[in-house]
Every structure is written in C-alpha cells, then in structure tokens.
C-alpha cells in the first residue's frame, strides 16, 4: 500500500519522510533513520525499552505508529547529550553503576527524563512509580533509582 508523508522533528532536526502506514515509530527510528538507541524488547508495550519522548512525554515507540507522531517533537536517547556534554542523567547513570547489560538503559533514561521535565523535584516514590513501567532484567533497579535521585538532589543544590 502507498506510503504516506510525515513531517516530524527528531532530536531538534526536522525531517520530511514518507512511511508505510504500518511502520511503527520504533521501526522508523531504528531501521530508516539508524537511531538505534531505542530498543525493541517485548514489542507489545510492556517492557519500556523502546521509550522515547513525544512532545516531552514518555511513550512506547513500539506501540506508536510513525504517522501518529506526525507534527510532534520526538527525543531519543541520541538527543539527550547537548553540545557534546552528556545529560546529567546519563552522567549519573555512569557514576552510580546504573548500567549493567544496558538494554533497558535508553528507555530508563528517557522515562526518567520525561519525569524530571514534568517535575524536576520528583521524590523517591515518584521516581519508582514513574520507572515502574520499565523492566530491567539484570534487576539493577536500586542503582537506577539512586542515579535519578542524585540528579534531583544536585539540581536542588545548584539553586
């Protein structure tokens, strides 16, 4: 069937694309644009490893049709670092050893980023709640939550 056109901003760059209607946002990002940071885990919206931000809000890119993202700003893990500097969340994940096999990491980062955009002072409970939609099969949850908490703490210190 015919491709349909799509205007989208990904990590600050504008794209005019033509995609098959049944292409998911995740497939488009990974296979068409070679942005392979977002991972396909379960493919049915359960595991959270495909999480990207759509207009600042975390969504499952495996459940989102590329066409549904038309007109929106999408941020993937590749867009987190700014001007060659890691996002504080990325640095904190490294500092806290919050990465084991790494498969869930990009999703965790984007979920955490979405939370902190909405609430920069999120507490431990909110962080846990918010990341509860992400599965880490290495079970490194404690380190991940600590990494996010530490970003919240250091942003408080800066004020």
């Amino acid at each position: 069937m015919n491709k349909q056109s799509l205007e989208i901003i990904i990590n600050g760059e504008k794209y005019s694309l033509a995609v098959e209607p049944n292409r998911t946002l995740l497939e488009m990002l990974r296979d068409d644009l070679e942005l392979t940071g977002a991972k396909e885990g379960c493919g049915e919206g359960v595991c959270g490893s495909c999480t990207v931000l759509m207009d600042g809000k975390p969504v499952r890119s495996c459940l989102t049709l590329a066409l549904e993202a038309s007109g929106s700003h999408v941020t993937t893990v590749e867009g987190l670092a700014q001007h060659g500097e890691l996002d504080p969340l990325q640095q904190s994940f490294i500092d806290h050893g919050a990465v084991q096999c790494g498969f869930c990491t990009s999703g965790m980062l984007m979920g955490a980023k979405g939370l902190l955009l909405e609430n920069p002072h999120a507490g431990a409970k909110e962080i846990r709640n918010s990341l509860s939609g992400h599965i880490c099969r290495c079970t490194g949850y404690t380190k991940i939550v600590e990494a996010v908490e530490s970003v919240v703490e250091s942003s408080k210190e800066k004020r």
């Binding site: 209607p21 049944n22 049915e44 919206g45 499952r60 989102t64 066409l67 549904e68």
Partner: protein
C-alpha cells in the same frame, strides 16, 4: 505488521462517514495501546485504520460549576485524568483507578474512551465511572444517543456500540454533598498489571448522620462484564455505615459476584477479597466524606 491505510479525519462526521464507506474493513484507533498490539499479533486485521486523535473537542475535561455535571471527552488520556486537580479533589475514585493503569508511557497516550470500548472484564477505568452513575454519549451515522455506562457492556470485548459509532463523552452527574467514593485495584504488582479483582464503592450519607442515603458497589473481573452488586447496595441504604454493616455488604457483594478461576487467581480467593475490599473501600468513603467536610 499487516498493511493498512491510515486515515485522519478532522471531524466526527468525517470519521463516521469514512467508517461507513469502508464497511467491515475499517477500525477506529485512539491511543492505540491495545489496537496496535492486536494488529501486530494478528488478532485484528483492518484494511483502514481511522485515527480519532485529530478530532477537535474530544480531549477536554469540563466541570460545569452551575449544574455540577462533569464531562470527560472520550479522547482524554489516562495521564490527563491522573494529573487533573479536579479529579484528585472531587472524584478521587477516578484517580484511584487511573494512576495504576499500565505505565506512565501507556497512560500518556491511552484514552478513557478506548479503555471503555475495549470492554475487558477488568476495565479499571470503568468501575469508578459506574460507581459514579456515569452515562456515555455515543455518536454515529444516525446522530447522538446516550447510554448508562452500566448497560454499555454486553460481554468480554462486546458493547452496545453499533458499527461505526464513537464514544464522544462520559457524563458524570452532579454529586450530592456528602458523597465518598473509593476504588481499589487488587493485583500483585504496581505496574503493567491487570487486577485480580477491582472494587469501587460509593456512599452518600444523609445530612447530619452516618445513615446511608445511596450506595454503589461496582466490581471488575467479578463477571464477564463490570457489574454492580445490587443486593449489597440495597442492604446499605437506610443503615448506619459502620465496619459491621460494611462487612455484611461485603459478604453480600461476594455472594453476588460471579468470579471464576483464571491464571491470575482462583475464584474462592477473589470472592474473599471482594468481601474484604468492599468493607475497606466503604471505610475509605467515610474517611473521604469526613475529609471533604473538613476542607
């Protein structure tokens, strides 16, 4: 994934006429968190997918301060409901339910209309709305009609919707002054979980006493569709609301439920939990009435 054409109507009429012109091979999609999974897995195979997301005026929450009627657009996301201060303060039973549906990423896109139309026996979104006596506005080729939510469900995955009809609004009638309502989703995990049982209780007290003027007890996963347990509700009306009377109502509700064994839990356990949770939610109703009177 199966191939299909993706259509983006801008109005309800356009959506309905697109659906009509493509007959049985067309499907509506809103948030897509159920539909896309079902297409990927081959359970659904539409040739045309009609997105409802770009239709104006369907994703608002409106509390009419004169009439007290609360109106929820069919395309309102669970996240919007979760974050709404009107819901947290005045309809906490809805907040109880929506904050534990799926995950943040799911709630950001999944819509309340979609939750209802899916008609799964466990629909967390439906139980609080049934307890609140909500009605649905439905739009189709013959115009608009209205259905009580409790009569909307016909079986697992089955509703009274005719082909091509769209749930446009959920109407929650004015609440009496001394209303308390609470919902508990009972499952094993906090995220991405379907409940073993879902219990919603609403209690309205008479002025100046703890006597029950009206009661609603709605259950999810207790039958093929969401249900109300009428004998338990009738038992409470006119009685003082106490731990004991709620205990009795819980037993009656458990007897009335039509729970069954499934992979998530056994019927006997579900029945016991209905009794426990009806009482617990009833007490929470009392507490919430007290809190609202203290404000």
């Amino acid at each position: 994934m199966k191939k299909f054409k993706y259509l983006i109507p801008k109005t309800l009429d356009e959506a309905v006429s697109l659906h009509q012109s493509h007959g049985g091979s067309a499907m509506y999609v809103a948030g897509g968190t159920d539909v896309i999974v079902k297409i990927t897995s081959g359970k659904l195979a539409p040739d045309y997918l009609i997105s409802l997301k770009h239709i104006d005026g369907q994703s608002q929450l409106e509390l009419n301060t004169e009439t007290g009627v609360f109106c929820i657009g069919g395309l309102v996301t669970h996240r919007t409901l979760e974050m709404s201060s009107v819901i947290r303060l005045q309809y906490p039973i809805i907040h109880d339910a929506v904050q534990r549906i799926g995950s943040t990423q799911i709630r950001n896109v999944a819509t309340i209309g979609g939750n209802l139309v899916n008609a799964v026996p466990s629909a967390d979104g439906a139980i609080p709305l049934i307890a609140l006596d909500a009605r649905l506005n439905i739009y189709g080729s013959t115009g608009e009609r209205s259905v009580d939510l409790i009569h909307f469900f016909q079986g697992p995955g089955q509703t009274v919707l005719d082909r091509g009809e769209i749930v446009t609004k959920i109407i929650v009638p004015k609440q009496s002054k001394r209303t308390g309502a609470a919902y508990q989703k009972f499952g094993r995990r906090a995220a991405m979980e379907l409940p073993l049982i879902g219990v919603g209780v609403l209690i309205i007290l008479e002025e100046g006493s703890n006597r029950c003027a009206k009661a609603r007890i709605a259950l999810g996963v207790a039958a093929p569709t969401p249900i109300r347990t009428l004998s338990a509700e009738r038992y409470l009306v006119g009685r003082e609301i106490t731990e004991d009377t709620l205990n009795e109502a819980g037993k009656l509700a458990a007897e009335e439920s039509r729970v069954r064994d499934s992979v998530r839990g056994l019927a006997w356990y579900r029945r016991e939990m209905v009794a426990v949770l009806v009482q617990r939610m009833g007490m929470k109703c009392l507490q919430r009435i007290k809190e609202s009177e203290g404000r």
